[in-house]
Amino acid sequence: MDEARARYLYEQLKNNKVGDWTIIDYIDHGKSAVVFEGRKGKKHAAIKIFDPELIDKVGKEKQRGRVERELSLIGKHHDNLIDILDGGICKNTGFIFIVMKLFNGKNLSKVLKEIPNYNIKLIIHQISEAAQFLENLSIAHRDIKPENIGISKDFKHAVLLDLGVIKPVGGLANLTDGPNSRPFIGTLRYSSPEFLFREEPDTKEGWRALTFYQLGAVLHDLIMKTPIFEKYSEPFARLVEAVKNVTPQTKSKDVPIELVQLTRNCLVKDPEVRLKIVSWQDFNFKSSLVTEVSAIKERICQRKLIGKMESSAKKPSSIEREKYKEDRMKYQLYNLIEKIIVDECVSSGCFPPLEIKSIEKNNDLYFFIQFGKSDELKLPGYFRIYIAISIIDLKSNTIELKYFATISYNNVDVAKIEGHYKPLYKGVADKEYLKKSISTILYRLIEQAQEDFIFEGEGQHPKSIPDFVQEVILNNDLDKG
């Protein structure tokens, strides 16, 4: 909602009643709602009215559901959480509204630079208490950020405001999330990476990880006096990238080291690691009466954990792991093809005994199959088949096979793989289809070899076949198949 629209609404509602509350003053507005001061008898309160346009967008039922969640907090008091007093759908105006205790202070986001460093511990402690209070009620706030924190004029009392996107942990009623979709909610800038991609587990721990991250982001802003990822604000994609991959620099000589450390720990990208190194006690600074050495030790251990996570992605060992995995996949493919060739030749009785060797060259694998002489099979010399395998795409198991064959009276020991290869197979490696393609070629080739040898035996071999002592390439055109 923009300023003008907020003002327009105020003009409309001024001195009118929403629910039982008379609107008497304008306080502030946000993206989806405007907040007025209201009065009921002698009581003054903040009345949050949702933008009817937004309601049209999300649907009235959904919005009412969200409000009902907020209303479920009526009567549940915590010093650092805004009290919800009343709310619902106004019978007169049709507005959906929430009535909260009037907070007499400032918005934290607007006074970041004024907060004395000395008060940071206190503020974050108070906000963490509120978040923990919600967690104990099995509710996740999901939108903790300086904008949603009110601070007293003396900067000593902080209150968590806006419960607009709270969610019961593991709750069935999914008002913010659709049945098949988990749209982004909350605030991108203060969103943890897992929440940004909506990969957070819907468990107490899952939401706690988000809460810790957001508390960390608030801490960051309090220490650095500037919103997190400010350099990455525009365009939107850059901010997304930053949330995902950039570790914000939190450095300050003016605040206690444990506060800086806590910030860094909270802002760890991996939620599992975050939960390992941050606990609620960390926000309860009174309890850190541990001796200095052990506190330092703990911090070093925590740093180590973070360092480990951050460095593992770029480590040579992870490159090696990837290569190993690929090699294994390749090896399995080669094995499959070798097995198809050998099984067909050995089991059919149509081929002489064979010797199969393989050579890897320029990322391709060459199988070299030499068959023994056999009078019975009319193969008085050596018959050889070469099959070349190229991997086109390992992930999808896409390969290309080519072949050529020769006959000669010489026993060639060293496989020479150069030749005029003809296509045999191209596509995703499918066992049955490979079997069919390979065996077709094998049978065609052996028959061709028999015919060529018989031809030679009769002493009328064509001129294209030299002395027959040399290797002769079988000149059959099988690529039509």
Binding site: R321, V346, P353, E355, G372
Partner: protein, 386 residues
């Protein structure tokens, strides 16, 4: 037993056929990998000599078990079992014929040495009473130079088959010596006995053996008809090994009727123990125990399971093979060749059992055959349990 011996000429490949019909004159050395048909060729060649007018011959084998195995094949070809002998009995016979009492000793190796010494002395005195037409030697790689030179003196023609990879006795390089006393060497390239998985395991092992020629490239085993497998089981104790073996044998006797199945161990201690379990199980009546200490039995068609030591299994082949107590392979000299010999006795299915760790080279071979799909993470190393 089926599928062990060739029954018609078409069962042989060209190389094998040509060996049976080699010229009658001159000695021949046949070299080939396990399963290339060496022992079968020996029998057929012996029959060929006999029918070609050279009936004064002996097939000499290293062990009693192998002798019984060959006798079984001899029946297939109507070849007299009296002409198949262990070399020790052959030496003893000559000594007796010359009025010399053979020395009896408990230890196999020492007895062999002294028997051959007695025979050497006899020869030195110029007393070679009778020279055979032909001596056919199986597993010739296991004999010493001295022994081979004695055989050579006792025959006009020496026909020997050998596989240089398989020496399991402590002898010098007999194959080189054989080549020096036999002018014609023939090589069998292709082999048919061992399934691909077994060849691959043997090849992994072979990487640790000098001058090893891998088996897999020349394997022509029909994998499509009988897919092969190798398995390794780490067990708590001998009883667990025995129970596992018995359980799987019960299935295997049904899956492979009329085929010889084997249970072998590197040491006699485990052999005796495993025999206790097997003989008292329902498999007892179809099992035969071959032991240098407790005697030998002939294989007859009713007995499908052979329990013997790794040494006795030389030259034999089993459709399915169980090697128990494999951790004791460590105790032997030439243990890698011995493991190789053991593994290559299996045609289709090989199972290896041990209490505690296998020798590193064997464990490594199993792992290489089935490598993990991913490298371990550092954190995996600190995880307790499985």
């Amino acid at each position: 037993m089926n599928k062990t011996w060739w029954v018609k000429p078409e069962d042989l490949d060209e190389d094998q056929k040509s060996i049976i019909e080699l010229p009658l004159k001159g000695s021949h050395l046949i070299l080939g990998p396990p399963g290339s048909g060496k022992t079968n060729l020996l029998l057929l060649r012996a029959d060929y000599y006999t029918k070609a007018g050279k009936p004064d011959l002996y097939i000499l084998v290293f062990t009693r078990t192998l002798r019984e195995f060959l006798v079984m094949g001899g029946i297939e070809y109507n070849f007299s079992k009296d002409k198949i002998m262990t070399d020790i009995n052959w030496v003893k016979n000559i000594l007796w014929q010359n009025g010399i009492e053979p020395i009896e000793k408990n230890d196999f190796e020492t007895m062999r040495t002294s028997l051959f010494e007695q025979l050497s002395e006899l020869i030195d005195r110029g007393n070679i009473s009778h020279i055979h037409d032909v001596i056919l030697l199986d597993e010739a790689h296991d004999y010493s130079e001295q022994e081979l030179s004695i055989f050579r003196k006792y025959c006009n023609i020496l026909f020997a088959v050998a596989d240089p990879k398989q020496r399991i006795y402590k002898k010098n390089n007999s194959v080189e010596y054989l080549k020096s006393i036999i002018s014609n060497t023939h090589i069998l390239k292709y082999h048919y006995r061992n399934g691909r998985e077994i060849c691959k395991l043997a090849d992994e092992l072979g990487k640790k053996i000098e001058f090893y020629e891998p088996m897999t490239p020349t394997s022509n085993y029909n994998e499509a008809a009988m897919p092969s497998s190798v398995n390794y089981f780490e067990c708590e104790d001998m009883e667990e090994q025995a129970q596992k073996i018995i359980k799987s044998l019960k299935t295997q006797i049904k899956a492979y009727p009329n085929e010889l199945l084997g249970v072998i161990t590197p040491r006699h201690e485990e052999l005796n123990e495993i025999w206790k379990y097997i003989s008292s199980s329902e498999l007892g009546k179809i099992s035969v125990f071959q032991s240098s200490r407790k005697g030998y039995c002939s294989f007859d068609t009713g007995q499908q399971i052979c329990v013997c030591s790794l040494h006795s299994a030389k030259g034999l082949e089993f459709r399915t093979l169980h090697i128990a107590g494999a951790e004791y392979l460590k105790n032997f000299a030439r243990q890698k060749s011995m493991s190789f010999t053991g593994i290559t006795r299996a045609k289709t299915s090989l199972s290896v059992y041990s209490v505690g760790n296998l020798p590193g080279y064997l464990e490594g071979a199993f792992t290489a055959l089935n490598p993990p799909s991913e490298l371990p993470k550092l954190s995996d190393l600190f995880r307790k349990g499985k």
